[in-house]
Amino acid sequence: MDLKSIVHVCLAGLSTGMFIWLVASGLTLIFGVLGVLNFAHGSFYMLGAYCCFTVLSRLGNNFWLGLLFGPLAVCVVGYVIERFFLRYVYRLELPYQLLLTFAFVLLFDDLVKIIWGAGSLGSPSVSGLAGSVPILGRNFPTYSLFIIAVGPLVALGLWALIEKTWYGRIIRAASSDREMASAIGVNVPVLFTAVFIFGTWLGAMGGGLAVPYVGLLTPGMGEAIIIDAFVVAVIGGLGSLKGAFLGALIIGLLSSFGTRFIPAFDMFLTFILMAAVLLWRPQGFFGEAT
């Protein structure tokens, strides 16, 4: 076990973790503000990837245009879901919300098969980020470095938005007391729709960024990542962005080190951690005790 090996395992873990964070951020934001555990978030990720792929292959394989326009298309889907479906279950019990959002997962998986076909689609590499850079004599993919940089930037952006802007203050107000915010003139339904669309956009961006990272698109591709994102959200404390970021870092590094050094247990490690956190601190690292 030499330095080179450890550095590369760390880097692989960081890129995995940042990737999970990108998906978990939207999930956490939606839960934190709307109180809805959105199972269909993985579908937004999948749709983001497919829309990004379609746009970029129409526009001369320009990944950046795909990343710009693809997730925007998914926002329309997010709007429809919030405005015409989710809005009616806010006051119901959690199982009803899960049922509704899970129905959307099945719906979107089939929709993707109808529109894009059931086979997997190989994705093009990104010009400029396609190669790799030597780190301590071993190549590390440039695109993974890019993901490692994007993760903290998204975290910083979200923190600034919520803590430092007027919109952020309204969001915080509405999430801590819906009725009071409404009483002082905040249009809560519109705000919820906006937050849901923004969360959708974050999930879809995760999907768009996954296109060159994973290397292929398959129907149902959102199901694996949504489980990781849920684990991360639970460990960090449901609704806490700070917690989700930290949780994603830990899970990413843990799975990377686990695969490399304790391969027999790599599948259990994340769940063992989740179980331990739930026992020790049921509300997660940064969750508020209820």
Partner: protein, 427 residues
């Protein structure tokens, strides 16, 4: 009130007429047409086919369906099976064992299928074996590869209802070792699926290669759980071990992701001898496209450019015309499975399980992949698929096999009784 009465009368009248017509119909029709030739078989011949139609591997199911549907169209256009229409129902196997069993029970008990086909996962195939004995229907496996199915369930436990038309793990483990013995690599490592199929292939490859070339060593293995999309830490394990040869039975989308990520990490520049037993699958070739490195050893259960003869080339052309795709291996095995049923039923003159099993045992089937012989002892179809080196070909937008090596099935398939001396290659 009068209206209701009328309706009832009409209803009874219609019923009587239908019953009469039916009785008359069979009476009149029975001695006519093709039924007369095979009076024992009352059609249609029903095949219940299950394959994975949902989730990340749904593309495999679609390719199964293309081959099977094309066979059904051809068979029915040419007068069916012994004059009876071939009827097929598809169900999603979901890759879960309990779902496969549920489907099999539905097919046999509710839908009254004569035969069953399909099955992608080894776990499903093994779980289904005792159920097939109980349902007493022939199951033609077209994808699941574990040798335990034919060696243990069919040969040892005597479940005669199971046949396999597709390549077993012998191609992935034994045949790969025959190719590897002539390569200069002395140290080997693997990243393979963390379940039965991955373990069994790597074990077989190690075992056979050690016998063929005693000075090789196997220095690293990393096991990726089903559904892995991020192979970076597995690639790290391999790069740390720095083997001369690399072997992986990752397959489908996971293999596509693996190849792309290994490419990014420069793994193929460091390791010169790479063997991917399922790398010649169409979804992988098309999915990786021109990013597939040259000079990688690939194989599969069937490869559309082999054998290069009129029968196969004609079939591939028809397939491409019908579906606008090159056939995946499951398309060929699904297609040929229907023709195996046809030949067996027509030879037996019956669709009864016992008679069909007898007809299938030792039967030679002419198929796009070449002539297949169903070995009597273990019901495994003997045929050949080449191993080949990846190369560009201007005719295709993906890499194909250039140099090809064919290891005869006789040489690389384990032999009954599967235990004891001279049952495993080399012979």
């Amino acid at each position: 009130m009068s209206k209701k009465g009328f309706t009832r009368r009409k209803f009874i009248k219609t019923g009587l007429m239908t019953a009469g017509a039916a009785a008359l119909g069979t009476g009149v029709l029975k001695p006519l047409g093709l039924w007369a030739a095979t009076p024992k078989i009352k059609g249609p011949i029903k095949v219940g086919y299950q394959c994975v139609l949902s989730g990340t591997l749904a593309g495999y199911g679609e390719f199964h369906k293309m081959g099977v549907t094309m066979a059904m169209e051809e068979i029915n256009a040419a007068g069916g099976i012994a004059g009876n229409k071939l009827d097929i129902e598809y169900r999603d196997s979901t890759l879960k064992a309990d779902e496969a069993i549920k489907n099999a029970r539905y097919f046999a008990d509710s839908w009254e299928a004569d035969f069953l086909g399909g099955i992608d996962s080894s776990g499903q195939a093994l779980a289904l074996a005792p159920v097939m004995a109980e349902l007493d229907r022939v199951l033609m496996v077209t994808h699941a590869a574990t040798e335990k199915l034919t060696e243990q369930q069919v040969f040892k436990n005597g479940i005669k209802q199971i046949f396999r038309i597709s390549m077993p793990t012998y191609q992935d483990g034994n045949a790969a070792a025959f190719v590897a013995k002539d390569l200069p690599a002395k140290t080997w490592a693997t990243v393979s699926p963390k379940y039965e199929y991955g373990y069994t292939c790597w074990a077989m490859f190690k075992d056979t290669l050690s016998k063929l070339k005693p000075d090789v060593s196997f220095i690293a293995d990393s096991w990726a759980p089903f559904g892995t999309t991020d192979f970076r830490s597995h690639i790290n394990t391999i790069m740390d071990a720095a083997p001369e040869g690399f072997y992986s039975v990752e397959w489908a989308g996971e293999l596509i992701a693996f190849i792309k990520q290994a490419n990014q990490a420069g793994m193929f520049d460091k390791i010169k001898h790479v063997m991917l037993p399922v790398g010649a699958a169409m979804d992988v070739l098309e999915g990786v496209g021109m990013e597939m490195p040259d000079n990688i050893w690939i194989s599969g259960r069937y490869f559309f450019m082999y054998p290069n003869d009129a029968r196969n080339n004609g079939w591939v052309a028809n397939f491409h015309k019908r579906w606008n795709h090159y056939p995946a291996y499951v398309s060929e095995t699904g297609y040929s499975a229907m023709f195996a049923f046809k030949k067996a039923v027509e030879t037996a003159g019956s669709k009864d399980t016992k008679a069909v099993v007898q007809a299938l045992e030792g039967m030679t089937l002419a198929s796009p992949a070449g002539d297949r012989v169903f070995r009597k002892e273990d019901h495994q179809a003997m045929y050949e698929v080449p191993w080949g080196l990846t190369v560009s070909n201007p005719k295709y937008p993906f890499k194909v096999m250039g140099k090809q090596i064919v290891i005869p099935a006789k040489e690389c398939f384990n032999r009954p009784p599967f235990e004891g001396p001279n049952t495993k290659p080399p012979f």
